[in-house]
């Protein structure tokens, strides 16, 4: 008997859960516990939108969702920046060039690069949160003329935990983007800011009526940053966050990544603050 939806499609659907084995072309240590992997994207190419993620599998170890941190124009490689925190992420960080990992994706929603055209852009990044925002920042800088002011605000634990530091210097060297960095603690050799990341919002000028903010970092940081931005007059619909929950299938079939009424793998991970604001205050949601 006919089922709902696509059940009657003549071509049987493929097994989306199976990873595609690809070669690691380069592994580069970013920080003490963080590596960037460059993977051969194969004949299909690495076509993705800023903010999307892949599921990465290490043979015999496991599979985890990892945001894509590369330039969307570079379709020959999947680029992922990974912090070694669990079994699978540690195994990914330990892979050497020439070895193979499994990839499936890309999945999820993206940063609102097109909707934000004509507006000022605020990127608020905490810790590794700069990695999922990097494709968006690179896109904005490439299409610089389409946006108003651009500011990249970065918070890190300490100066040595500053991700993509060289690139931050390059961006700061441009005359058309403001880069502000603050750390939680520092020694005397640090000439930048020490303090909480949202304080940087006061350091930049933006037109609250025409600003899109893209925020990525630990959930507490995103919640507080979004609240601060809204208090300063940015519309909640224009503030975007990238949320994180347990993820097994990434194709809206396993039920693990539920957040509020959403399935984060399908409806997120990037969501407007207006959609999630009321949920962010609910414990254990």
């Amino acid at each position: 008997m006919g089922a709902e939806g696509n059940v009657l499609v003549s071509v049987p659907p493929k097994e989306h859960m199976a990873p595609l084995p690809v070669r690691v072309l380069k592994s580069h240590r970013e920080l003490a516990d963080t590596w960037t992997l460059e993977l051969d994207s194969g004949p299909l190419g690495a076509k993705f939108a800023p903010g999307q993620f892949n599921m990465l599998y290490v043979f015999g170890v496991g599979e985890i969702p990892v945001s894509i941190s590369g330039d969307p124009l570079n379709t020959s490689r999947w680029i992922h920046t990974i912090r070694s925190v669990g079994l699978a992420s540690a195994a990914l960080c330990a892979t050497k060039s020439g070895e193979m990992v499994g990839v499936r994706g890309p999945y999820g929603t993206c940063w609102p690069m097109e909707a934000a055209e004509g507006n000022d852009l605020l990127f608020v990044c905490g810790g590794l949160g700069l990695a999922p925002l990097r494709p968006a920042i690179l896109t904005a800088l490439r299409l610089r003329e389409r946006y108003g002011r651009i500011a990249v605000l970065v918070g890190a634990r300490e100066p040595t935990a500053l991700l993509f530091e060289k690139e931050l210097h390059v961006w700061r060297g441009r005359f058309d983007v403001q880069v502000e960095v603050t750390v939680d603690s520092a020694g005397r050799g640090w000439f930048g800011e020490v303090g909480w990341v949202t304080r940087l919002i006061d350091h930049v000028r933006f037109d609250t009526d025409f600003t899109y903010a893209m925020v990525c970092g630990p959930e507490i940081m995103m919640r507080l940053a979004a609240r601060d931005l809204v208090e300063r007059g940015v519309a909640a619909e224009n503030v975007f966050l990238s949320l994180e929950r347990n993820m097994k299938c990434a194709i809206a079939l396993c039920g693990h990544c539920q957040y509020g009424t959403t399935l984060l793998c399908r409806d997120g991970a990037v969501l407007p603050y207006s959609r999630v604001a009321s949920w962010l205050g609910i414990r254990e949601l």
């Binding site: 939806g5 990873p19 043979f59 599979e63 039920g255």
Partner: protein
């Protein structure tokens, strides 16, 4: 099935609406087996009516009824010889479309890396005999989950396409049923290949069979049957009206959806959490719960790694695990997740409620937690009992 789009008139009179006796039912099952179907149907095992492969009509429960209430399930002896004189048991059809365990893929290590193969999808033809309205609705809810999105599950799709549905309208609801509220029963309108209505009639029950597909009509035509007459049709309507009248539990799905999503901090969640054992029984008996997790098994000596999928439950801590620990640590948050998903967020995710009104979660909850009662409490002001509290 063969031609699911075939439109078969569901109203009487119809050339596809026929009457036959137990011999006709026997013939139907035999025909299905000859056509290569594995026939699944209700049978009595370990004091319960469960769904299993059956060889013949003799394995169907005969004269068996049931009593069900919160945390309680008992088989009873009926005064007739009806084969479908009971409500749904602990098993549902879910396991035959979405098996509890399934190998997703196998990776084999070789010198320069590894390769991945996927096993073939299941292509066994299966006939589901005795699908009640609530369970038919549950199958359609899961159709939306597994087939309705951008990435349909290939195994489910294959199994679903190979499934022949013999639905049976329900004349014997129990006190945990609320299909009438959910619009899923006891009568069945569509979504079947053949629909049966059992008329108990003492020692010799008989069946009114309606074709819902061309293939269903073809099979019915092979049975020695006569066309249903007006009085038999009236008898069927009377049985269903009586069944509907016996259903007292109530849940308004639209109301429940709003109430649940608007009250995530209601004190009732604490109250229900004080009773909930977070055993996950409700999720295991639920015909729509679809959460699954994956298991990896790696054999380093052969260099083979397998990933399989297995049923999971949102009542486990692992379900919400992120780096750092579980998000939903308290029983309160896990019960809230289950109920909020089932009756609330399911709508936004899949355009339907995640509940068919079968009542299994009430019956098989060791402490008899009743979701209809919980919704009624959530609709009231904090700490006040609902007006019609049981």
């Amino acid at each position: 099935m063969k031609n699911p789009e075939a439109s078969i008139p569901a109203t009487h009179p119809s050339p596809y609406f026929v009457r036959f006796d137990i011999e006709g039912l026997k013939r139907l099952i035999e025909t299905l087996k000859q056509e290569g179907y594995e026939v699944l149907g209700p049978t009595v095992r370990d004091g319960a009516i469960v769904i299993e492969p059956i060889e013949s009509v003799s394995q169907l429960p005969c004269g068996v009824g049931d009593e069900q209430s919160g945390g309680r399930y008992r088989l009873t002896q009926r005064s007739d010889r009806s084969r479908f004189g009971y409500a749904v048991g602990p098993t549902s059809w879910k396991r035959f479309l979405f098996p509890p365990n399934r190998l997703l893929w196998r990776a084999t290590q070789h010198e320069r890396g590894f390769s991945v193969e996927t096993p073939p999808v299941d292509s066994q033809r299966r006939a589901f005999v005795g699908v009640r309205g609530c369970d038919l609705a549950a199958i359609r809810i899961q159709d939306r989950v597994f087939c309705g999105g951008a990435n349909p599950d290939p195994d489910y799709v294959s199994r679903r396409k190979q499934t022949f549905i013999v639905a049976v309208e329900c004349g014997s609801p129990v006190q945990t049923c609320f299909c009438t509220s959910m619009g899923t029963g006891p009568a069945i309108g569509d979504g079947f290949d053949i629909r049966l209505t059992e008329i108990p009639d003492g020692e010799n029950p008989y069946y009114l069979g309606l074709a819902g597909s061309e293939y269903g009509a073809q099979l019915l035509s092979q049975i020695d049957a006569i066309q249903v007459n007006e009085s038999e049709f009236a008898e069927r309507n009377a049985i269903l009206a009586s069944a509907a009248a016996q259903i007292t539990r109530h849940l308004d799905p639209d109301h429940a959806r709003a109430v649940i999503l608007e009250n995530p901090e209601h004190s009732r969640w604490d109250e229900v959490a004080s009773r909930c054992l977070t055993c996950g029984n409700c999720t295991q008996v639920c015909p729509t719960c679809f959460c699954s997790t994956v298991d990896d098994v790696t054999d380093l000596t052969t260099g083979v790694a397998e990933r399989s999928r297995r049923w999971d439950s949102c009542f486990t801590m692992e379900h919400s695990h992120v780096h750092g620990g579980a998000v939903r640590r308290s029983p309160r948050s896990r019960y809230r997740q289950w109920l909020s998903h089932k009756l609330g967020s399911w709508w936004e995710q899949f355009g339907t409620a995640g509940c068919s009104g079968c009542g299994r979660c009430i019956v098989w909850c060791p402490v008899g937690i009743d979701l209809t009662e919980e919704v009624a409490y959530l609709a009231t002001k904090r700490d006040a009992p609902p007006e019609d509290a049981p």
